[in-house]
């Protein structure tokens, strides 16, 4: 705490210092001896009012400023017993009180001034039908989103919609990209033509072989990672075996 009481009080009034309960006693003591600080303190509005009232009460110097501060703070007709007691014997504060209640009554009359009857219709026109349908849609969505089960319900409805429309269209539900679709078509074709493929490998007809090689190339290009899949493995083995067999045959013929 600053040794200079005046500085400290002013610092507090400017909200640059804190005031604990025990420090309040020190403050009260200083205010009793220093008129300048008392004036400053009484006029400073930023001091929390309860603290100010407490201090003024403790000072017991100016019951009228205390009362008038309370009058300015009035929230309802309910008067504090102490204030009510003071008003009963102080005409100046009684006047201030009456003035305050009259002012409050007059101000509360400004709350709902008269307004012409067309006002509502004008507002309704400005928030008219087209706006209202958009508003309504947003409202319904907002209302639904607020329900906790909404996400679950939405996901369920969405899944049913997708599956039933896929079934209606005769599509086997495979979540696939364009490339995957092509692969599936190719696998299908190759599987279907297993017999034809075997013939082709065994007979090694040039034109058919070219067509088949290009199909295999496409297959590899589309998915090199699936190269060890069942069909492909079988095909490679068969191909190698055929090659070995043919080489063997050639050796036999040459030898």
């Amino acid at each position: 705490m600053n040794t200079n009481g005046c500085d400290w009080v002013q610092a507090f009034c400017h909200r640059q210092a804190e005031l604990s309960r025990e420090k309040q006693d020190t403050l009260t003591e200083h205010l009793q001896t220093c008129d300048a600080c008392l004036d400053f303190w009484s006029q400073t509005i930023d001091v929390p009012t309860n603290l100010k009232v407490d201090t003024l009460n403790a000072l017991s110097l100016d019951p009228c400023s205390n009362a008038q501060l309370q009058i300015l703070e009035l929230e309802s007709d309910q008067l504090e017993p102490l204030l009510s007691e003071h008003l009963s014997h102080c005409s100046a504060c009684q006047d201030a009180y009456q003035q305050m209640t009259a002012l409050q009554a007059a101000l509360s009359e400004l709350k709902e001034p008269r307004l012409d009857e067309l006002f509502v219709a004008d507002v309704l026109r400005k928030t008219s039908r087209r706006r209202f349908s958009w508003f309504r849609m947003r409202g319904v969505i907002h209302h639904m989103i607020q329900r906790p089960r909404f996400a679950l319900e939405l996901a369920y409805a969405f899944a049913i919609l997708i599956f039933s429309s896929a079934q209606l269209a005769g599509i086997e539900w495979v979540p696939s990209t364009g490339v995957e679709m092509k692969q599936q078509q190719l696998v299908h074709t190759l599987n279907e033509s297993a017999k034809w493929t075997q013939d082709l490998i065994e007979n090694t007809g040039t034109k058919s072989q070219q067509r088949f090689s290009s199909a295999v190339a496409t297959w590899q290009e589309l998915d090199p990672h699936q190269a060890n899949q069942t069909w492909w493995t079988w095909f490679q083995k068969t191909l190698n075996r055929t090659k070995e067999k043919k080489t063997g045959d050639n050796h036999d013929r040459n030898g």
Binding site: I45, L110, D116, F119, H142
Partner: protein, 187 residues
Amino acid sequence: MQDSELIQRCRLGDSLAWEHLVEKFQRRIFGLALTYVHNREEARDLAQEIFVRVFNGLNQFKDDQAFVPWLLAMGRNCCIDRIRRLKVRNRYHTDMPEQAEFADPSDSPHDDLETSGRNKTLYKAIDGLSEQSREMIMLKDIQGLKFREISSMLGIPEGTVKSRSVKARSDLLCALKDQGYQQGSLT
């Protein structure tokens, strides 16, 4: 019907509920606009803009919130935006008056002259306050919000709201005295 139920129905597109909501809060929103722009026509227009904004923003309202502070916060933001626009416009059209002449908010043949004159004086006194005090009078004394509600609306501690309110009331009383208001003339 509770406000929360009304809003729920508005969100589902119930146009009757929306009409009911506008009907219920129209004067309050108009009152709010009047503390910012003072001109009856301008305030009426501003109040409509606030309702359009509320309509578009109803989905941002959370069900555990209190509706009135939310509504007033939205209205307040709209008013501040309008004032900002007006200021920019005035900067480029210097021939325009800085402030429109005060219209009596309760301008109606049925109002007795004394009451409407008093409101005019009150608005004038409020307008002479600092922006901070004016806002406190508007939120606390005119709209009747609680300190806690103003604190969360403005994002400042409740103690600060309380002391600002005390200062605003005291400033307003001074301003009224300066305008020659004697004690008792408000009643």
